[in-house]
């Protein structure tokens, strides 16, 4: 009897003790969040580097931090470029670091709250407004012509890095939307690629045709992937109708009816199971329908074709402009990424010089190729060694080809864009699963826009 008694009693004590520790654990997520918050809120109020720009000092040692998102391949290219920079500036030492996209922004937001953002770091259009309007970024305006040369930039492209008259980011490269078609799949089905200049409705009809032909194929081939949940494509569609996506105050400039119309026009294709199925799409993530050889077309940023080609294991991919709207075929450039500097940097001159080197130097253009998008500056584009007929060649050729269609400015980067873009995608999936109607899609997105975008 005795052993049982002692053990149950000590266990009882253990039960109570464990309960408290587990309860503590219940709030550890918050605790963590709050721990940083505690430290962070203590040091609000940024310092502004308003000193006059001067040529980079050569008489003392300078240390710069450079951070980007990306994979090992990109890291190797950055290291090569940085080595060149350090060769030209022997007194500057560049410390590098990189993360994957999601972790990258978690890390940056924590640094921003602690006023410790890197001297130079990659910035995205979806976040630049948020960082700039919260005084986290260095206004590079006074560096222009001193350490930073932007003469070779296209006006609209450079403008995408400016917020409220300040130049907070320098685009490294551009891309524009396009339709990638996988000709291996189309050849198998004996169907011609879509023709340039087709309308959105014609494109939908073409998808139907391919999906019908590919129904008995193993694995089944579909004409395309449901594109309704891509906010950029919706914006593209609006732009073609002469509408703008966002007002100056950051709120949506379109009506709920526009969004309902957008979701409704693809509803018959979803109802009939014509698109590459969402159940499958979720399973092959992060690959896409085209990369697993089941979707003949997909619309995305043109520079994505390199990854698509690698994923699909085929060079037989090509690009077409996005379908034409009733009122035209206008497209816009989007910087595939920008480089920004922290408002708290101790070395604004050297930081500007590093940005200048990364966006202008021909050697850097050669090192990166189109892996970050097509370089924004001609000198870098020309320095690239692209093989005739290669994927890189097709991407560069596509951008030259659609240049005349690019008549619109890059849509304003609004604060909170990243959040509402993710919500758009999520609701698009709900739509594909048949859980919500086009009206609910529009309602729920506007709800999110109200709490996350400006002007409310």
């Amino acid at each position: 009897m005795q052993p049982a008694t002692s053990s149950t009693q000590s266990k009882e004590a253990h039960v109570v003790r464990t309960r408290t520790t587990r309860k503590t654990a219940a709030v550890q997520v918050t605790a963590l969040a709050a721990a940083s918050a505690l430290a962070l809120s203590a040091c609000g109020g940024g310092t502004t580097a308003s000193a006059e720009a001067a040529p980079v000092a050569t008489d003392r040692d300078i240390e710069l931090s450079l951070v980007w998102w990306g994979d090992d391949d990109r890291a190797a290219r950055y290291e090569e470029a940085v080595a060149l920079f350090e060769e030209q500036h022997p007194n500057i030492d560049v410390q590098t670091q990189f993360q994957a996209w999601d972790d990258y922004w978690t890390a940056r937001s924590t640094e921003a709250a602690g006023q410790t953002l890197p001297d130079v770091f990659q910035m995205d259009l979806a976040y630049i407004h948020q960082y700039a309007s919260n005084n986290q970024l260095l206004d590079l305006s006074n560096q222009l012509g001193v350490n930073l040369d932007t003469d070779d930039f296209d006006e609209t492209v450079l403008a995408s890095g400016s917020v409220d008259d300040g130049q907070y980011g320098i685009p490294t490269s551009t891309n524009t939307l396009g339709m990638i078609h996988h000709d291996d799949l189309l050849d198998e089905l004996g169907i011609e690629p879509p023709e340039e200049g087709l309308t959105w409705d014609e494109y939908d009809a073409w998808i139907r045709e391919v999906s019908a032909a590919g129904a008995d194929h193993d694995p089944q081939i579909y004409g395309g992937t449901d594109y309704t949940g891509t906010l950029w494509l919706f914006i593209q569609w609006l732009v073609q109708q002469g509408k703008t996506a966002f007002a100056d105050d950051g709120s949506p400039a379109f009506e709920k009816a526009d969004l309902v119309a957008w979701a409704e026009r693809t509803q018959p294709l979803r109802d009939d199971g014509v698109f590459f199925p969402v159940e499958r799409a979720k399973q092959v993530e992060p690959l896409t329908g085209m990369q697993v050889g089941q979707a003949a077309t997909e619309m995305t940023w043109d520079n994505m074709m390199a990854g698509y080609s690698a994923g699909a294991g085929s060079e037989n991919l090509d690009l077409l402009p996005v379908p034409t709207g009733a009122d035209g075929s206008a497209q816009f450039w989007k910087p595939s990424m920008l480089l920004s500097s922290s408002a708290t940097t101790q070395e604004p001159d050297a930081a500007a010089a590093l940005i200048d080197f990364l966006v202008n130097d021909p050697e850097v253009g050669k090192i990166f190729g189109t892996s970050k998008g097509v370089p924004a500056v001609a000198a870098q584009r020309d320095a690239m060694e692209v093989e005739e007929g290669s994927i890189d060649d097709k991407i560069v050729g596509y951008e030259e080809h659609v240049a005349e269609r690019v008549t619109e400015d890059t849509p304003l980067p609004v604060e909170g864009y990243g959040v509402v873009e993710a919500e758009f995608k999520r609701l698009g999936e709900e739509l594909s699963y048949g859980n919500i109607t086009p009206e609910e899609f529009a309602d729920q997105w506007f709800q999110s826009a109200e709490s996350n975008l400006g002007g409310s």
């Binding site: 997520v29 809120s41 921003a112 709250a113 159940e279 979720k282």
Partner: protein, 328 residues
Amino acid sequence: MSATTTERGRSAGRGGVRGTATSSSPARGGGKPQRDRSDVKAGYAFLSPWLLGFVLLTAGPMLMSLYLAFTDYNLFRAPTFVGIDNFTALFADPRFLKSAQVTAVYVLVGVPVKLAAALAVAVLLNAKHRGQGAYRSMFYAPSLIGASVSVAIVWRAMFIDDGIADQVQQFFGLPAGGWVGDPSMTMPMMILLAVWQFGAPMVIFLAGLKQIPAELHEAAAVDGAGPIRRFVSVTLPMLSPVLFFNLLLETIGAFQVFSSAFIISGGTGGPADSTLFYTFYLYLKGFTEFRMGYASAMAWVLVLVVGIITAVLFRTSRAWVHYTGDVR
């Protein structure tokens, strides 16, 4: 020996209580022997590493998060006080309600199934067989690696289109297509993953089973009780404190499921929010939407709910948990 253990356990308990009492009223301690107070001081000195950690890393941040729960805070700008807006917004948020529902199903179904599996395996492993030690290690192994990211990745691979589960299904002529992309199949998959990690409660059950005196079973057998009757009337009552302990632990643990859902859904809580567990939604709000006030409010609602459920479990335990030698 056993008597000594018991005595030591009890005196340790008393000592703890007395320590607290003294510390709470140090001014009144004049009548106490000097040595006693310096003992208390030494005690706190030895405790200080933990105390410091607790105050700075747990209690402080918890208080801060309680404050943040009543503010609008996005990490960039200073928090602004908004009263109970976060809490009212919570209950009007369809995704919050969805996440509460997903979590409730996971707890209500997953915990009992997991405990049943753990108990069943423990009973099997308690029988005397050759090589029982090896079996115990083998059955515990999944739990050693169970909480890790790699297992969630493997799990995803198993239940994906053309994965092992899908091939077995096809072999038996069941519809194919994989579980990962189908919103109605992700919850069974998540529960299965939890159940498979039964090792920790199983080991505790096993220890509990070992403590049940063989005489009880022998006596019951002599009285003509079969194995099932012996399990229900001897094993279960004798095991009830352990069962209660495991139930509490697993319930609280299940409320906090995060990493497996994060991996299996690819960081989205999808497909169609079917793996949007509570803590996961909290993370999304806090760290991808940067709505720290809202996330803090969610965390405190969770603390309250888990606290209430724990209290209810303790209250009901009086009816079904039997402690040996208990005269209540």
